[in-house]
């Protein structure tokens, strides 16, 4: 378990200085828009693939702390991974949020969200970008 202080630092860092937040106008990227009906969150995720590798992940739009930080962290994690590895990371993240068994090591900084499951009304914020990524991977696989 990460301590609270450390979690807060990770989240503040990714919220105030998101590495992957930018608009993408490149037709080679697949994109997915996702908005919350209960929070401000309204973001678009962009992903670039090269064969079976996730080459790049970016997002833009408006998001609260939980949405922005979770999307940015997972974007970092799945970048430069194979599609199978990326799917494994997403699967573990969902498992963590659903209070099922998951592999802490694989989630790295995303462990900051290990108590999100206790905040029923914020789960949506913490999964909105991740849903978009799952959808894009599916899009890519079904293309």
């Amino acid at each position: 378990m990460m301590d609270k202080e450390f979690k807060r630092e990770i989240m503040m860092d990714h919220y105030t200085h998101p590495r992957n937040k930018r608009e993408v106008n490149d037709e080679n990227y697949l994109k997915k828009h996702n908005a919350s009906d209960s929070c401000i969150d309204d973001i678009t995720v962009y992903m670039l693939f090269d064969g079976d590798v996730v080459k790049d992940v970016a997002f833009d739009g408006v998001g609260c702390t939980i949405c922005t930080a979770s999307t940015d962290i997972i974007a970092d994690l799945i970048k430069d991974k194979t599609i199978e590895e990326a799917k494994e990371i997403l699967r573990n993240y969902y498992a963590m949020v659903d209070e099922e068994e998951y592999d802490e090591d694989i989630l790295e900084e995303a462990n900051a969200f290990d108590t999100l499951s206790k905040q029923a009304n914020r789960i949506k914020c913490g999964t909105i970008g991740i849903h978009a990524m799952s959808d894009i991977i599916k899009q890519y696989e079904e293309r």
Partner: protein, 407 residues
């Protein structure tokens, strides 16, 4: 005399909630007398009404129907048969839209409404507009979503407006709209007024005879009564002229296999199916409880609370209030640099119950330029001391603390 400490003792949730409750626009707490009435029905009076040939059913049927007399007094209408029990404001508003709008509007007619409306008073009209080809028009408001009677009257100049559907009090801006003038002008041009009273009736004296409003909808659960029950008031001749949305047991006088159907008179024709009996009985007690305190006293006290809340919040440089000149104890705000939901999450962690979001009024974005805010909505059992604690808590808000509240 208005004695808030005595009043607070009537509400068990004030002790039991474990938080300071500032979400009264969503729903109010219930006083013990209402809770007792509901449980009294299930403990000693459980039966269906208007059906049984036995003493118990006759007694409870009478209590149910007598609630119309209480509500008649509460909103000062002429006839108890102008009171229809529904499932709540949403169901009352839908009854007007479908029961009156569908059969009385057609292409070329205008439904006049506003951008501050709650979804429950706009979406039914969208559908009526689709089905009848009547046009929806929005009243141009002043800056800050304030009402302008001149701009309003302009809307009637082409004589197409047939119905005005408007909230009395905005559930986000807390403004009280000049309903009496709104009705007077509408009637001058031969239009009817459907008033959404969900945020008004619980907080002030609403006198339908004085307002001369044609329809009024409100929910019991926002005025200390049980959930699942509400009221539609309409002038009796309009009720006679309306179609019930639902048909079934209780609303018909007779029907035959050749589809001949004779409905009962109003209000029975609108009350198909076994009703929420305990809800009506509880609403009766709630309305009498409010009348005992006095709606004028409630309004005066809430106005004091509202002024104090705005005054204290104004001390905080990082808080932006969207409705500084609110007419009610509804105040919508944001903290600079922090999204509404993050603020509400921080407040929740500090044991304050408030709502963030767009509050079901999604067209308001165009008027006030924000789509999400935090809303504090107080009721007559809240206190200045609670406001002080709230302001102290908001003083300390930081982004870090919002995040900490979520992990």
């Amino acid at each position: 005399m208005f004695n808030v400490e005595k009043i607070r003792n009537d509400f068990p949730m004030i002790k039991n909630a474990g938080c300071i409750y500032f979400d009264n626009s969503a729903t109010s707490f219930k006083p013990q007398c209402v809770i007792d009435r509901v449980s009294e029905y299930y403990t000693n009076e459980n039966c269906n009404i208007h059906r049984g040939d036995y003493d118990l059913s006759v007694k409870v049927s009478k209590e149910y129907d007598d609630t119309r007399k209480t509500i008649k007094k509460f909103i000062n209408c002429r006839d108890k048969n102008e009171i229809v029990f529904t499932h709540g404001a949403t169901s009352s508003l839908n009854t007007v839209a479908y029961g009156y709008g569908l059969s009385h509007l057609s292409k070329g007619d205008v439904i006049l409404t506003s951008q501050v409306e709650h979804a429950s008073n706009i979406l039914p009209w969208f559908r009526v507009s689709d089905l009848t080809e009547a046009e929806i028009r929005y009243i141009p408001f002043d800056e800050d979503a304030k009402f302008n009677l001149e701009k309003y009257e302009e809307c009637f100049k082409d004589r197409k407006v047939k119905i005005v559907s408007l909230t009395y009090v905005s559930n986000v801006m807390g403004y009280k709209y000049p309903m009496k003038d709104i009705v007077r002008i509408a009637h001058k041009y031969g239009a009817l007024v459907n008033c959404d009273g969900a945020q008004a009736v619980p907080h002030m004296k609403v006198d339908v005879e004085d307002l001369d409003v044609d329809f009024l909808s409100f929910s019991s659960h926002k005025m200390c009564g049980p959930a699942g029950i509400g009221v539609l008031y309409a002038k009796y001749k309009l009720l006679q002229d309306m179609d019930p949305v639902w048909l079934g047991g209780g609303s018909n006088a007779r029907f035959k296999s050749d589809k001949e159907l004779i409905l009962k008179e109003s209000p029975d024709k609108f009350e198909s199916g076994s009703p929420c009996i305990e809800g009506v009985l509880g609403l009766d007690v709630a309305a009498r409880y409010l009348m005992d305190i006095g709606m004028e006293n409630i309004e005066a006290y809430e106005s004091e609370l509202s002024e104090y809340l705005v005054h204290r919040l104004s001390e905080l440089k990082n808080v932006h209030i969207y409705n500084r000149n609110t007419d009610t104890a509804i105040v919508s705000f944001n903290v600079d640099g922090i999204f509404a939901q993050d603020t509400a999450c921080y407040l929740n962690a500090n044991k304050f119950a408030l709502r963030s979001g767009n509050h079901c009024a999604k067209l308001l974005i165009d008027l006030i330029g924000t789509n999400e805010s935090v809303r504090a909505s107080l009721y007559f059992y809240n206190t200045k001391e609670e406001i002080d604690r709230f302001v102290e808590c908001l003083k300390d808000i930081t982004l870090e603390k919002c995040i900490e509240a979520a992990i």
